[in-house]
Each structure stands twice: as C-alpha cells, then as structure tokens.
C-alpha cells in the first residue's frame, strides 16, 4: 500500500505485532504466514545455494536444477574453481538487468564447460506444478515449482521458469549454446517475459536483491559500464556446501505445494485490509511473494 510517512509512523507498532492468525476468511498474508506450520517450510540445499560476496554485502542465490541441471552443475564447478573471484558487476541497465562475470575471462574453469546445451524449456511431466487460477499474457498456464515461478503449455508438454524480478539467468550470445553460467544476470525491472524460452534461467536471488538493484546504471550500450572503475568487484562466489556448516545462512523457503501457500496466493489476489477498496481478484505470477525466513 502507499501510505503517508505520518500514517506509517502511527501504525508501525500495531503492524509489527499483529501476528496472531485471524479467521479463515479475509486473512492477510501476515495472518497466513503466522499460522504456517514448520512443515510448510523447507531449508536450502547447500548444493543448490551460492553466496556472492560483494563489498556491499552477501547475495544469496538458489539454483533450480529441476529446470537447469547442466547449468547448476557448471556453476558449482565454476564456484569451486574460484572462477568469479576478482571478476565484477559489468552491467546495470535501467528497468531490466544487472549482469556479472565474464564468459571469456581466461581463468581456470575447473570441471566447468565453456559452453552448454541450452536449458530453455523441459518436459512438464514429473514436475510438482502448483498452478495459479489466473490467466497470463504470455503463457498458457503459470504457477510454481518448488518455490520458483514457472509456466507450462499442455499443447506441447513443455515447462519453463519465467523471468520475474530477482530471477537469475545465464547470459548467452546469438548461438543458443553459447552460455555457460560464467556470465550471469538478474532481473531488476518489470518482468521481461519476452526472454522466457530464449535463455536459461538458473535460479533466483533469495537475499541481497537491494544490493544488486541499486547498482548505478551503466552509461554504455545496454547498460554496460564504460570504465573499469565503475564496476563493482566480486569478492568471491562460493557454493554453500563448500563453506563450513557454521558459516552457512539458515534460511527457509515457503513450500509452494502447500495449503499455506494457496492461502497466501488468495490473500494477495484479494487484499483484505482497510487500505484496499477494490480487490484485484487476480494475480500475476511475478507478483506473488515467495517468502523466506
């Protein structure tokens, strides 16, 4: 909602402590989450979690190997080879993407491949797909797979992850197999859904989006920085599994195959608070919050 600063100061305390669940009907997202059970949440798999350390703090990325197993494996290998350490954020384009790494850094790549077959789509069968009830402009059906926004098309049996804010993908050139994960981008603007099925999405940012989204925009073509000193250096990227257990982030992600998530979606399709006068009655796949705690 869009409240005045004065009104927010007045209500801030009640908002923060109103965590008791209300009745089933007319619940807010806060109500739904407060009533969640421990089994509604899943821990992160350290084999699918990357830590990108920047001068401004840590960015945590969750990989989605159900859609991009080859790219996930390559990213694990690149992290183990310390490929990204000392590379930089190279691009920040207004209302579009921030990009980092280098496809041709002339550094040891360990067990990683220099190029990979594309993973733009996969078969929809075998996926636990939680469908949204609402129509989508781009896809026959949208929904979620294990916490990631996705789409599927019964006409050809394919499924793919979709380009929402915070989704991470592997840059490529004109050849479909020219990406490897050595150059990554994150969506920092309105969902660029035209990229769906044209490039491999590998996962999403769970923490630290604020660091990436506020990177000064580059003045070059497509938002690339023109001078080396404009780039933000990457201290390191590590796989969580390669970090001592005590140093890993203990985040949990709300499971999207639960009744709690279905209730959350409904609480956002039809907002139930005093501010909203006309509930939307619908929700876009990229407007559904994917809670982390």
């Amino acid at each position: 909602m869009i409240k005045s600063a004065r009104a927010v100061a007045l209500v801030a305390l009640p908002l923060l402590i109103a965590t008791l669940p209300s009745q089933a009907a007319g619940r807010t997202m806060a109500d739904v989450l407060a009533a969640s059970k421990p089994s509604d949440w899943r821990p992160l798999d350290p084999n699918n979690t990357l830590y990108m350390d920047l001068p401004g703090g840590r960015v945590i990325i969750e990989l989605q190997p159900e859609f991009a197993p080859r790219h996930a494996a390559n990213l694990r290998a690149l992290a183990r080879a310390r490929y990204f350490d000392g590379l930089a954020i190279t691009r920040s384009q207004e209302n579009y993407v921030v990009q980092w790494g280098e496809s041709d850094a002339k550094k040891p790549m360990g067990d990683a491949h220099k190029a990979l077959a594309p993973e733009f789509t996969r078969s929809a069968s075998g996926l636990q797909f939680t469908a949204l009830p609402d129509r989508d402009t781009y896809a026959a059906q949208t929904g979620f797979v294990n916490g990631f926004p996705a789409a599927r098309d019964a006409a050809n049996g394919s499924a793919w992850m979709v380009h929402c804010y915070g989704m991470v993908g592997a840059g490529r050139d004109n050849d479909v197999d020219s990406g490897s994960g050595a150059e990554l981008y994150v969506v920092t603007g309105n969902a660029p859904r035209q990229l769906d099925r044209n490039i491999t999405l590998v996962g999403r940012v769970l923490q630290g989006m604020d660091i990436l989204s506020t990177m000064p925009r580059g003045k070059g073509v497509m938002g690339f920085y023109q001078k080396p000193e404009e780039r933000t250096p990457i201290t390191q990227i590590r796989l969580a599994a390669d970090v001592p257990e005590a140093q890993r982030a203990r985040l949990e992600v709300l499971r999207t195959d639960t009744q709690t998530f279905a209730d959350l979606v409904e609480s956002r399709r039809n907002r139930q608070d005093e501010w909203y006068k006309v509930p939307a009655g619908h929700i876009d796949v990229c407007n559904v919050p994917l809670p982390i705690r």
Copy 2:
C-alpha cells in the same frame, strides 16, 4: 537481450548506426523509430510537465489530466507554492516504490487543496484508447491513452491508468479522499497492478528514473528511511510553464494513436533479431516501451 560484454563490445558500433529502415516485415523497434514521421511525435505541454531537481540530477514527470484533472491542478498549485522545495525522498522499498514529499508539512500550500476526491477511475467514453491485442491478467482490456498505459472495462464503462514501472501516483491513507499530491510515489519494481483502481495515478517519469530507482532502500517499515540524514533532499519541483522557455527540456513523446506506435508494439510482440529464437507472440501493457526523444 542478454549478451556477453565481449559480444556487445564487438557489435556496439553496428547497433548504433543501423538506423536505416528495413522492409515492412520483420522490423526491429530501431527500424520502426527510424522510419517515424515528425507528426508521430508530440511535444510536452509545459502545463503538464514537472521538473523535480535532486542533487543527482533532474527528474521530468508528465502529468495526465485526462485521468486525474484535480490532482494535476493541485500539483501545479503545490509547485507554484514551492511546497516541495526542501522536502525529501522519504521511502525506497525494494521492488515496489520510491516516495517523496509530505502530506502534512505545515507549509503554505498556495491554491492547493489539502485533500482531493479520488480519481481512481473515470468514464471510458471520450478517450482515444489504443488497445493492445493481448489478454491481461488483471483487466478486461489494456492499451494506451495519449502515451500512458491504461485499462478499460466495457462491462461498466470505466477506464483507469495502470501501475507500470515509472508511473507516478498520489499517496493516500485509508480514506479514499486523503491524498492530495503533496506526497507522491513512483513504481520502481514489477508492476504492482493490485494498486490499480485503489489510488490516483497522476502521470509518469519521462527522464531521471535511474536517479529514483537506485535510491538506497530504507530499512524501516515499508522502506521508509529511519533517519533524517538517509533522506535525499528535494532541491525544488517546478512546473515547466513557470520556467523560462529557454530552460525547458525539449522532449518529444511518441504518440500512441499512430501507425508507427502500432508497428512498434508488433516489433516488440515478436522480436526480429538474431538473438531471439522464440518470439513471445504477446506483450504485457507494462512491457511496451513508450519512446521519448
């Protein structure tokens, strides 16, 4: 598109100079714009143009009085009363909005009203509405009115502007008539379409979005800054009509009721370049570029 830094360096020159129109079929947006006629563009009306000067540069906002005449009039009066000068950016919430001004600054408001009747929707009749061919998740139909993204519903004859990236609205509290334009917000994340018909949109940012979108995120409730020193001061907000003609920005906006705009929409629904392998075949109202020159 998402290209490697190396590839972009190689193609940057050809991209920039390839401005000759191609054949009618398979044109890119650059082709379409290069073939535009002078009459496809309209100058800004200085009575509907605000200059917001920040330490980081000038933000230019175009008001849309066809949808929000009372708010436009109030904003002209507030600018004339120098109401905003010395106020600040008060809020920056990740993937949502940046907000500025104050509804209760205890400053002279000139001819402005302290509160206004809402302008959430209006009658669809009398509007030059350029409809998009694609379905929308939230509205019966979407399109454009004089360069602004909008929606309409034949069932009840109403129309409204929609919350796309860069759209500017007037904050309000729980009462629908509690907004005045003294507190404004701009969308800096994925289109929050649930706000449509719940709050008054007044216009859009034409220039300087990069200044607003990269504001450090506030750590308080809803992204409000917690300390005064975190706020960015507003040097001044002026109506272009009140600025000497020689100091006005000479921007032109592509008219959305033209064949050139229809061609642009089609060039974005089905991208025609070597990078895209699967044209989307559709476009969301918030993904259509609204060119300015």
